[in-house]
């Protein structure tokens, strides 16, 4: 239900913001530069540039949906929230002989994440005390109930009443509305149901926002981010978890490139090496690195060595193939030209083949880094002492959703940073790529 509402709101935001932005940010919708003179743009992909207003609104929309559907303190329009605070309902008990009596149940609803909050003195929050009530007149006595948001609780009204169910007494109305066992009465603050045996339960109104367990508010995740950096989780700070994961990726990639590139060159340059490695490469290449995790753990354990070996294997085949296609991509006229300029075989390799294969090797390196980053997180999910994957899988066992989200965001940001960094490095090292 809530998911459908999110989808409808998201689609609405996509079109709604388009029509609003078109009026407000007119200049962002104008064609720029030479595109202004093009009369045909629909179908001409080169004439399409990303509308930056759309990008900004897109990010804001996701953030706003996040705020709107959680119990966030950020002052943005939000979905109706769950009931929090004190409320009450009355019930009427009827005895076998037809006499009735009314009593009040005072309910105190507290935050479901109270133990994860901190009060002024720095102590973790705890369940509030129940509301104190006078027993009142009659055989039905007033009751008190303390319940968390998103939960429900049975109100054992008979406990303090002078009559009991065994004597044939039963609840006939809630807040004046008649009710049967198995029925329910809704109020603004919650739902009162009678069990099949006639005992009332109270469930505070949930609203449309999600509980912290399912989706913590943005500020909670941000706090958790700082907390993870300061206090750490599972004995390591967030920075250390990240560093371990990155270190594994870089080491695995480094050795994969160190071994893979020469093998790729050899396969491109000699028939013996091509014949020797072809079956191995063709066999190993389609095996996803994740499928190797069990074997790698058996052979190398769950320590650093196992991770680095796994990432080495993830990077190796990609780098071999990249280097090999780099060699085959050298125009034969360049090799001929170099030979007739007096180059030796070694000079052909170092001055012509290696520089000429750099674009292919870089493309391979970008792919390999991406695969390694994905693989390291998965490997840590399976078995590790430290690392981002380890952090989120442990947090999931304790239902610490905020840590999981911090972990996912850090993984995404680093993966993105790796991609951007590799592209910058590429345009700096290989400025001729795509220009010849």
């Amino acid at each position: 239900m809530t998911g459908l509402l999110v989808l409808v709101l998201y689609i609405g935001a996509f079109f709604g913001s388009f029509f609003i932005a078109k009026r407000v940010f007119k200049s962002a919708f104008e064609k720029k530069g030479f595109n202004r003179l093009k009369t045909v743009t629909f179908g001409d992909e080169s004439a399409i540039t990303a509308n930056r207003v759309a990008s900004v609104v897109s990010v804001i929309t996701v953030f706003w949906l996040w705020v709107a559907f959680t119990n966030s303190t950020i002052p943005l329009p939000k979905m109706p929230g769950p009931f929090l605070g004190d409320t009450s309902f009355t019930y009427t008990v009827q005895l076998e002989d037809g006499t009735t009596d009314e009593a009040v149940v005072s309910v105190r609803v507290y935050r479901e994440d109270i133990q994860q909050t901190v009060d002024e003195s720095g102590e973790p929050g705890r369940e509030p005390d129940p509301i104190e009530v006078e027993p009142g007149e009659g055989f039905a006595k007033n009751d008190t109930l303390t319940v968390a948001r998103y939960a429900f609780k049975v109100v054992n009204v008979w406990k303090n009443d002078e009559v009991s169910k065994k004597e044939g007494s039963k609840i006939i109305t809630i807040n004046g509305q008649p009710i049967e066992p198995g029925g329910e009465v809704k109020t603004d603050d919650g739902t009162i149901r009678l069990t099949e045996k006639g005992t009332p339960t109270f469930e505070p109104a949930k609203g449309l926002r999600m509980a912290r367990l399912y989706l913590p508010a943005p500020e909670v995740v941000l706090q958790r981010f700082f907390w993870l950096n300061k206090e750490g989780y599972q004995g390591y700070t967030l920075f250390e978890h990240t560093r371990f994961s990155l270190q594994r990726v870089l080491l695995g990639f480094f050795f994969g490139a160190l071994i893979g590139i020469p093998i790729g060159y050899a396969m491109g340059l000699t028939g013996w090496a091509r014949g020797w490695f072809d079956p191995i490469v063709e066999f190993m290449r389609p095996i996803p690195p994740l499928a190797l995790i069990p074997l790698v753990i058996i052979w190398f354990g769950i320590g650093e060595l196992g991770k680095v070996v796994l990432l080495f294997l993830a990077a190796l085949w990609i780098m071999i193939i990249a280097a090999r296609s780099g060699v085959s991509g050298v125009a034969i006229s360049k090799v001929h030209a170099a030979y007739s300029l007096g180059a030796s075989k070694w000079q052909i390799l170092s001055k012509v083949i290696v520089p000429n294969s750099l674009p292919d090797i870089f493309t391979g390196a970008r792919v390999a880094m991406g695969v390694c980053w994905g693989t390291v997180v998965a490997a840590e999910l399976v078995a590790a002492n430290v690392g981002l994957g380890k952090m989120i899988v442990t947090a999931s066992k304790f239902q610490l959703t905020d840590i999981i989200i911090v972990g996912i965001i850090v993984i995404g940001v680093i993966g993105f940073a790796i991609e951007v960094g590799m592209r910058k490095l590429e345009s700096w090292l290989i400025p001729w790529k795509g220009k010849i």
Binding site: A337, S340, L341, K351, P355, I430, P431, W432
Partner: protein, 268 residues
């Protein structure tokens, strides 16, 4: 004995289906040192194969190549090559491309500097020596290729349609440049081309080749190259023999193409 001797060369390519193609049959040529020879012929006449054999990239099935009395079996710096698409090293700037040959021989940059600078000046690129290859136009790239070849001081320069990819105006300028370089350096030049005009202007000796099997069909000795050195090539084209020779060769090649078409139809 100085000069390039092409000694009864034959080239046969075996096909996967068991047949074969006779790309060249009994081609013999004696090219004197300092000669400018252009080679013309319909496609499939084996002119590029001939050039690759002379350069040493292919071994002929029969016959030998001799340069200054030495039998050649592979590529060597004495036979420089200029390709249609430059084949420049785009990871180096203009100067490094030109000094590639001396660098490979282990000549220090200090020693080769003067020569490289001079060659860049000759081809008119002295202001572009720090530029990257991809920043140059096609004509400029061919100038770099020429300078790179000359920097190695080869005895023979082999050109495989070096101006084929250039526009008409750039091409005319480059033709003058090739003529001037030929006269100034005294190199032996073999130039393959598709253009009859280019073959006329850039060949004191013009070879028309015929296909199936690839062979020398007719040879001309022409005055136009000498006339063109230092002169406007458009003036050369007004020479009384120019138009006539051009028509004669065009007709010859036209007939060969017709013959090829006819044979294809017969075999089809």
């Amino acid at each position: 004995m100085s000069g390039l001797l092409i000694n009864d060369i034959s080239m046969r390519f075996d096909l996967p289906n068991g047949g074969h193609v006779q790309a060249l049959k009994n081609v013999s040529l004696d090219i004197k040192s300092g000669e400018l020879m252009s080679v013309l012929g319909p496609s499939g006449c084996g002119k590029t194969t001939l050039l690759n054999i002379v350069a040493g990239f292919l071994a002929p099935t029969e016959g030998t190549i001799e340069l200054n009395g030495q039998v050649e079996t592979g590529p060597s710096p004495e036979r420089g090559m200029v390709f249609q698409q430059g084949a420049l090293f785009e990871w180096m700037n203009v100067r490094d491309n030109v000094s590639f040959g001396p660098d490979m021989k282990g000549v220090s940059r200090a020693e080769s500097k003067e020569k490289v600078e001079h060659l860049l000046e000759v081809v008119g690129l002295q202001d572009f020596k720090e530029k990257a290859i991809y920043e140059l136009s096609g004509g400029m790239q061919q100038r770099v290729a020429l300078a790179r070849c000359l920097a190695n001081d080869p005895d023979v320069i082999l050109m495989d349609e070096p101006l084929g990819a250039l526009d008409a105006l750039t091409r005319e300028k480059m033709q003058s440049l090739v003529l001037d370089l030929w006269k100034d350096t005294g190199k032996t030049i073999i130039l393959i081309t598709h253009s009859v005009e280019e073959a006329l202007l850039l060949g004191e000796r013009l070879l028309v080749m015929a296909p199936r099997p690839g062979r020398v069909h007719k040879e001309y000795r022409l005055p136009f190259a000498d006339l063109g050195v230092g002169n406007d090539l458009r003036e050369v084209k007004k020479h009384k023999d120019y138009a006539g020779t051009r028509e004669e060769i065009l007709e010859m090649i036209w007939n060969m193409e017709e013959e090829i078409m006819g044979r294809t139809e017969e075999s089809a």
